[in-house]
């Protein structure tokens, strides 16, 4: 069983996102194993990009902080390698196609495998363009995580049938960021997926409170939280490890209670 599959094995998963290198690589390196200890089942590491078109203001700012602290793709690979020595938690990179393409797609996925990355999420590579990267992922044994959105409708089964790892279900229109209310009928989306595939479905975009996490996890296989964590990192900077971990424990408990 792949590490990603294990994260969902007989349980609902709490997935945390951090932008690699925010506020600096040392902090991220310390944060990831601690988030795992605090209960995160899978961690997404954002490779910062100058122009993250699927992100709201919180993660845009996180990317800017990470880039201005001197984070590069190579430095992130080195950091992941060091983290991998300390934890067995599934790690997934989330970034845009340009940093991958420019690095060399095959070189990138090979490097991911070497460093212990389990999967990649690329929000600007939809189903129609996944040939751009899927071959290199398969070759390197990296799972390519697909996304479905509230607009996907009849596209859902086509995407779900070929999905790997877990399916990232986008809860709302627009970009990432904390929302007071999620209005999409998530159960219906998940049902459409489950009709054609047993792939785990995790819900992301807009989840910030334990109540939301519980609600989302109760109709799916897990909850993904990014902006709410990045807000804590923005507030505490290098001192963020403890407050982030406190938050992760609370959110994990909420997800578990949805079991």
């Amino acid at each position: 069983m792949s590490r990603i599959k294990k994260a969902f094995d007989n349980k609902k998963a709490f997935i945390g996102f951090v932008t690699g290198g925010d506020p600096d690589l040392e902090t991220t390196q310390e944060l990831i194993p601690k988030m795992a200890e605090a209960g995160a089942d899978l961690i997404e590491i954002g490779i910062p990009f100058s122009d993250p078109i699927a992100e709201g203001v919180v993660i845009q700012a996180a990317d800017e902080r990470a880039l201005s602290s001197g984070t590069t793709t190579d430095k992130l690979f080195d950091m992941v390698k060091r983290v991998r020595g300390k934890t067995d938690i599934p790690l997934v990179f989330m970034t845009y196609m340009n940093p991958i393409y420019t690095y060399g797609t095959e070189k990138f996925t090979k490097k991911c495998a070497e460093c212990g990355i389990d999967g990649i999420i690329v929000p600007d590579v939809p189903f129609e363009e996944k040939d751009e990267i899927s071959g290199a992922c398969n070759e390197a044994g990296i799972e390519l995580i697909s996304m479905i959105a509230p607009t996907s409708n009849e596209r859902i089964s086509m995407i779900a049938k070929e999905a790997q790892g877990f399916l990232y279900c986008v809860s709302s229109l627009g970009v990432t960021g904390v929302r007071s209310k999620i209005t999409t009928n998530i159960s219906a989306m998940v049902k459409q997926v489950k009709a054609v595939s047993d792939i785990p479905c995790a819900i992301g975009f807009g989840i910030a409170t334990p109540e939301q996490a519980k609600e989302m996890a109760s109709c799916s296989d897990g909850a993904i939280v990014g902006s709410a964590i990045e807000k804590i990192i923005a507030q505490y900077g290098k001192e963020c490890v403890k407050p982030v971990c406190n938050y992760v424990s609370k959110m994990k408990a909420a997800v578990v209670s949805a079991q």
Partner: protein
């Protein structure tokens, strides 16, 4: 060229979030339905002829020709269109299409404000709600154009993320579209972005080259030897080039903004300095660093101040069908002043990049040769900036 997949050679594609895919697919479907629809074509033609003032003139620049002492120079006067640039051709098409699609709201990015003003104009005419996203740097530099858009009933959102210029305005318009697409169409301003935008914008702009061909045939009874246009994203150039692509005797020359020089970091010359990347929905050439972070670019011309180029241009470059030359700020400003004094035509600073290259090329060609320069817009908007460039402190 596989138009169905929106590819131009290896360039193009639809690299956008899943949320937006149904929206671009809807746009493609509706465009394919309407583009050959008799009513749509008639309505668009009426707008172009009775509202925008098409066909635009093809003017023989006799004084410039004599002064340069080589090839005959014709100017395609897109500056004479309503709103003062070629941008109106595309927005009339796209806003009419939006209307047919049942949309009630259009959104658009703008750099200097030309596309924003054109979109706000078409929206006013066709009773659409209109919101324009413009980098904070540009709203500060182009106060007059912001007011103009508001006068036309549009809402202008200053974009404060990233470098606060055109690329960030595109990012923000895409984000806005992803959050509201039921009643809203993104009216993209250039031959860039995800398919079908590069194709749709080119189709609405190709009237420029089609008119050039007919008008020059009437005037000279032959094809031009070269067509020159400035290139940012590349819509006026694609509009001028497209008709001539099969006519291999016609040289197609795009002029990029080299800012302070191609060897200086302050430039926006994508073909000269860029490399292949995937950004803003398309595989194309971009100014970027070794890790694929998009580079901040610079040009005196806000309309050419973009770190990428449309995918069809990238392919025309790769196949050798078109050539692309860098023009510096200094050369463009010289050409801006030159055309003003020589022909009494003040070109947009963007278009002045094309005039600058014509000044270099014409003297190397025989007198029986013909160059057509696309004057994509008028220069009124640039007068204050050029004055400041020359040390005269005029502010709008």
């Amino acid at each position: 060229m596989n138009e169905k997949k929106g590819r131009y050679g290896s360039y193009g594609g639809q690299y956008i979030p899943e949320t937006l895919i149904p929206a671009v697919q809807e746009l493609e479907r509706e465009y394919e339905k309407y583009k050959n629809d008799a009513d749509f074509k008639r309505e668009l033609n009426d707008l172009l002829t009775k509202y925008a003032g098409r066909p635009s003139l093809l003017y023989y620049a006799e004084k410039m020709t004599k002064d340069l002492g080589g090839a005959k120079i014709y100017l395609k006067r897109e500056d004479l269109n309503h709103t003062g640039s070629h941008k109106i051709n595309n927005v009339l098409g796209q806003v009419l299409l939006a209307k047919k699609m049942g949309k009630t709201r259009v959104i658009a990015e703008t750099g200097a404000g030309q596309h924003g003003v054109a979109t706000a104009t078409a929206a006013a005419l066709m009773d659409m709600e209109c919101e324009i996203f413009m980098g904070k740097e540009d709203t500060d530099r182009q106060v007059l154009n912001c007011y103009r858009m508001e006068l036309l009933g549009a809402k202008v959102h200053p974009v404060t993320t990233g470098t606060m210029t055109l690329k960030d305005a595109v990012n923000e318009t895409m984000r806005e579209w992803a959050s509201r697409m039921d009643d809203t169409l993104y009216v993209l301003g250039s031959v860039m972005g995800p398919h079908p935008f590069p194709m749709i914008v080119r189709d609405f702009q190709k009237v420029i080259g089609e008119e050039i061909k007919v008008q020059l045939m009437e005037a000279e009874g032959k094809l031009p030897d070269a067509v020159i246009a400035c290139v940012g994203g590349g819509s006026n150039a694609m509009g001028a080039f497209y008709e001539f692509i099969p006519d291999t005797s016609v040289r197609l020359i795009g002029c990029e903004a080299a800012g302070l020089g191609v060897d200086n970091p302050k430039n926006a010359a994508t073909i000269a300095n860029g490399s292949v990347g995937i950004f803003h929905g398309m595989k194309s050439l971009f100014c970027q660093d070794e890790y694929g972070q998009i580079a901040p670019v610079y040009s005196i011309s806000a309309g050419l101040d973009y770190p990428g180029i449309g995918p069809e241009h990238a392919n025309l470059y790769e196949t050798g069908r078109a050539q692309y030359v860098p023009i510096t700020d200094e050369e463009a400003v010289d050409a801006f002043e030159y055309l003003s004094r020589t022909e009494g035509i003040i070109p947009a600073i963007e278009s002045a990049h094309a005039v600058a290259y014509a000044r270099k090329l014409a003297p190397t060609m025989d007198k029986d040769r013909i160059i057509v320069v696309n004057i994509s817009g008028r220069g009124d908007k640039d007068v204050a900036a050029i004055a400041r460039y020359r040390g005269v402190q005029i502010f709008e």
